[in-house]
């Protein structure tokens, strides 16, 4: 790989990535429009020029679905966008979404060799560029295999379910997606805010999947409307995929968490994103944000909630986190976006109680300061409270973003389904659960993870289900 060693070619390499145009912070905190505006054609081609077209590209190793990254980047250089998007779609059916929300710095871009001498190639932004280019022209619907007469039920319309549905429909199976909410997309729709992932994009991607012949049924609560067993018997499905994701928000179990003005991040984000309460009263679902907001936790969900709170008119938004800045689980890019927008970070701080007024609205928060211990055997520095460091802060809104548990309904209503202690569903390497014909993937199997890993799971399960259905087909006809 001599020709790509950064040393030898240092002169020729452009160390800096082409920056992506963004709405300036003071403007964007007044709207819910997308923050990053996307490359123009010229910018995309310029950034694509930076790629070294490695013979043994390291970047691909970091992509959970194994996109042929140098190949699609080469297409951008040559201006052959149609071929570029086709290359991506071989592996990823939702590129407009992944290009925006993949934690690229931990995935493809982390492995890009250019990262050793400067910025890695902006793979995600280039992927997004091609996907947006394609969407603007209208999707080509790929050829479908002839109908197999086999039926598959998909539970949940998050990224795992959507990917699986698209793959199986292309292979000629009849696919029905059951979703308990009134809109498709899972977290893409109800969790990730409009300003990071415009809902028009989710709608367009789902539209494409509908054009493949996939049927969506909303308001169907599997476990109650039908059980898995009923799907496989009365409802006549040959296989079932469980992609129900994470749901129930965790609380800390401290006094005052049922006061008015205390939200789980999930409630807050569902109101804002799914119910569009930022458009209230034009849309019917209200939301209330005070002047001083405390967001508890420092993951991506916390950053999203904090940035929504700013856009809803909060004067001060604090991220309250018990460890230090360097332990924050959120993506660096999201932390920076939040910082730019004026979110204040209170690290090494742990809430211990909330206090309300006579009407039951939260008004104050008691916290304790924390310090980090020396690293233990596992190398982790644990936060411990500093004795007598309690203090009280005025706040009028709290958003608790400390994690979510797997949705439990299917596990509770499906006898024979093997479940881990933490509530996730047990699968083998082919995404098979302990029940024949029933598969699972995404957050319901891994716990809270990423969009692309959920898609990867959906893709794998689709392959596995396809093989199962072919085998079953033969057995049936013989």
């Amino acid at each position: 790989m001599a020709e790509i060693t950064p040393k030898g070619s240092r002169e020729k390499i452009k160390k800096k990535a082409v920056p992506i145009p963004k709405q300036p912070p003071e403007v964007r905190i007044k709207n819910f429009n997308e923050v990053a505006l996307g490359y123009t054609e010229e910018q995309a081609r310029e950034e694509a020029e930076r790629c070294l077209q490695c013979k043994e590209p390291q970047c691909i190793k970091g992509c959970p679905v194994g996109i042929d990254i140098p190949a699609f980047i080469k297409c951008i250089r040559e201006g052959n966008f149609e071929e570029g998007i086709r290359k991506i779609k071989e592996k990823n059916s939702l590129p407009a979404i992944c290009g925006r929300v993949c934690p690229q710095e931990d995935q493809c871009q982390k492995y890009c060799v250019l990262g050793k001498v400067g910025d890695p190639v902006s793979i995600g932004r280039l992927e997004r560029f091609l996907a947006d280019w394609e969407r603007a022209r209208g999707f080509n619907i790929p050829e479908k295999a002839p109908s197999t007469g086999r039926r598959v039920a998909v539970i949940g319309s998050g990224p795992s379910g959507l990917t699986l549905a698209a793959d199986l429909a292309k292979l000629g199976h009849e696919v029905v997606v059951f979703e308990l909410l009134h809109l498709p997309g899972g977290v893409l729709t109800y969790g990730i805010p409009e300003f990071r992932l415009p809902k028009e994009i989710v709608k367009a991607e789902v539209g494409y999947i509908q054009k493949l012949g996939v049927e969506f049924r909303f308001g169907y609560v599997i476990g109650r409307t039908f059980t898995i067993h009923e799907l496989l018997t009365d409802e006549g499905f040959d296989a079932v995929f469980i992609g129900t994701g994470a749901g129930p928000p965790m609380f800390m179990g401290i006094p005052g968490e049922t006061l008015c003005g205390v939200y789980s991040a999930n409630e807050f984000l569902i109101r804002v994103n799914l119910m569009k309460s930022y458009l209230f009263p034009g849309w019917d679902t209200p939301i209330k944000v005070g002047d001083k907001v405390a967001v508890i936790g420092a993951g991506n969900v916390a950053m999203d909630a904090a940035r929504c709170a700013l856009r809803l008119g909060a004067k001060e938004v604090h991220i309250v986190y018990r460890r230090s800045r360097s332990e924050m689980p959120a993506r660096e890019e999201e932390i920076m976006n939040a910082e730019e927008e004026g979110v204040i970070f209170d690290v090494l701080t742990l809430p211990v109680a909330y206090y309300g007024d006579e009407k039951g609205w939260v008004r104050k928060m008691e916290c304790i300061r924390m310090q980090l211990t020396e690293p233990d055997e596992s190398g982790r520095r644990r936060p411990v409270p500093i004795p007598n460091s309690n203090f009280i802060a005025d706040i009028d809104t709290v958003i608790v973003a400390i994690g979510r548990r797997p949705n439990p309904l299917i596990q509770q209503t499906t006898p024979g389904l093997k479940v881990n202690d933490d509530g996730t569903i047990v699968v083998d390497e082919n995404m098979r659960t302990s029940i024949e014909g029933v598969y699972a993937g995404g957050d319901i199997v891994t716990g809270e993870a990423t969009v692309i890993s959920a898609m990867g799971a959906g893709r794998k399960a689709a392959k596995s289900i396809h093989e199962y259905l072919l085998k079953r087909g033969k057995n049936k006809s013989s």
Partner: protein, 276 residues
């Protein structure tokens, strides 16, 4: 889209809808609820299932026209369609032979109570029914419930029909040995009846109606304190032990968006905002 097959006015501002939703009708049980959303911009509102016909695929519910969404719903006619209905949600009521059961329902919740009473009666229970409303003209299903119960009482807040208030129940509860008590209605009713049965240790089941959004355990807005523990009413309930519920907390949380709710209804009534 879910077609409305029949609309009845049970009392002023209380309507009964029958909608075509065969998959929900097939599974619905007493005690469960649905969540409907009128159109894309609408709010998701929970309503208790008040009847079902599994063969005809019909689900029924009754609602009080109190705010924007229920008023808007009240304008819909036979043949109109509701954008989406999710269900059935929540845990079904425990229906078996308990012995002597006291059933108390107030306001619009008289409708789902009739369904409960039918099921409890079928399971071989002896029913004492109490239905209440603010005024006599707000009562409905009087004859139906009377016909199914062994003892039957009516109460109104203003005394315009039957007993004035629920105070008379104290005597009855002291005399009869009830094995179970079921209460449906606004929080003050749930609380009052729970206090009446508490000294006698009668297992008292109340059906709670906190704010909800998804109705599936994902948002946590419906959290209530029961015996000091946080529960999500949509998945852990909606029925709970009436002697353990923190009613003050529940009332406060129900009123969380009261200003916004009033604003929404007002703007809509004035027709100032041309939407939905």
């Amino acid at each position: 889209m879910y077609e409305i097959l029949a609309v009845k006015e049970l009392a002023p501002k209380i309507k009964w809808f029958e909608v075509y939703a065969p998959h929900i009708a097939k599974k619905a049980k007493p005690g469960q609820f649905i969540i409907l959303i009128i159109n894309e911009r609408g709010e998701r509102i929970p309503l208790t299932i008040a009847g079902y016909d599994r063969e005809k695929g019909i689900v029924s519910f009754a609602f009080n026209e109190v705010g924007k969404t229920t008023k808007q719903l009240g304008l819909l006619k036979e043949g109109d369609r509701i954008w989406n209905i999710a269900g059935p949600l929540g845990n079904p009521s425990e229906i078996r032979k308990f012995g002597k059961v006291l059933c108390v329902a107030a306001g619009v919740m008289i409708a789902p109570m009739l369904l409960q009473i039918k099921a409890l009666r079928e399971a071989g229970n002896e029913i004492t029914a109490v239905i209440g409303a603010r005024r006599r003209d707000l009562l409905f299903f009087v004859e139906d419930i009377k016909a199914l119960s062994h003892r039957f009482y009516v109460a109104t807040d203003d005394g315009s029909e039957g007993h004035k208030g629920l105070g008379f129940l104290k005597e009855i509860v002291a005399k009869e040995k009830f094995d179970r008590c079921i209460v449906m209605g606004p929080v003050p009713t749930l609380q009052a009846v729970s206090e009446i049965t508490r000294p006698y240790g009668i297992p008292t089941i109340v059906s709670l109606m906190p704010l909800m959004v998804d109705g599936m355990g994902m948002c946590g807005v419906c959290r209530v304190l029961v015996g000091g523990k946080m529960k999500f009413a949509c998945v852990d309930g909606p029925e709970f032990d009436g002697h353990l519920v923190d009613y003050e907390e529940l009332i406060r949380r129900q009123r969380m968006f009261i200003v916004e709710e009033r604003l929404s209804a007002l703007l809509w009534e004035m027709g100032g905002l041309k939407y939905g």
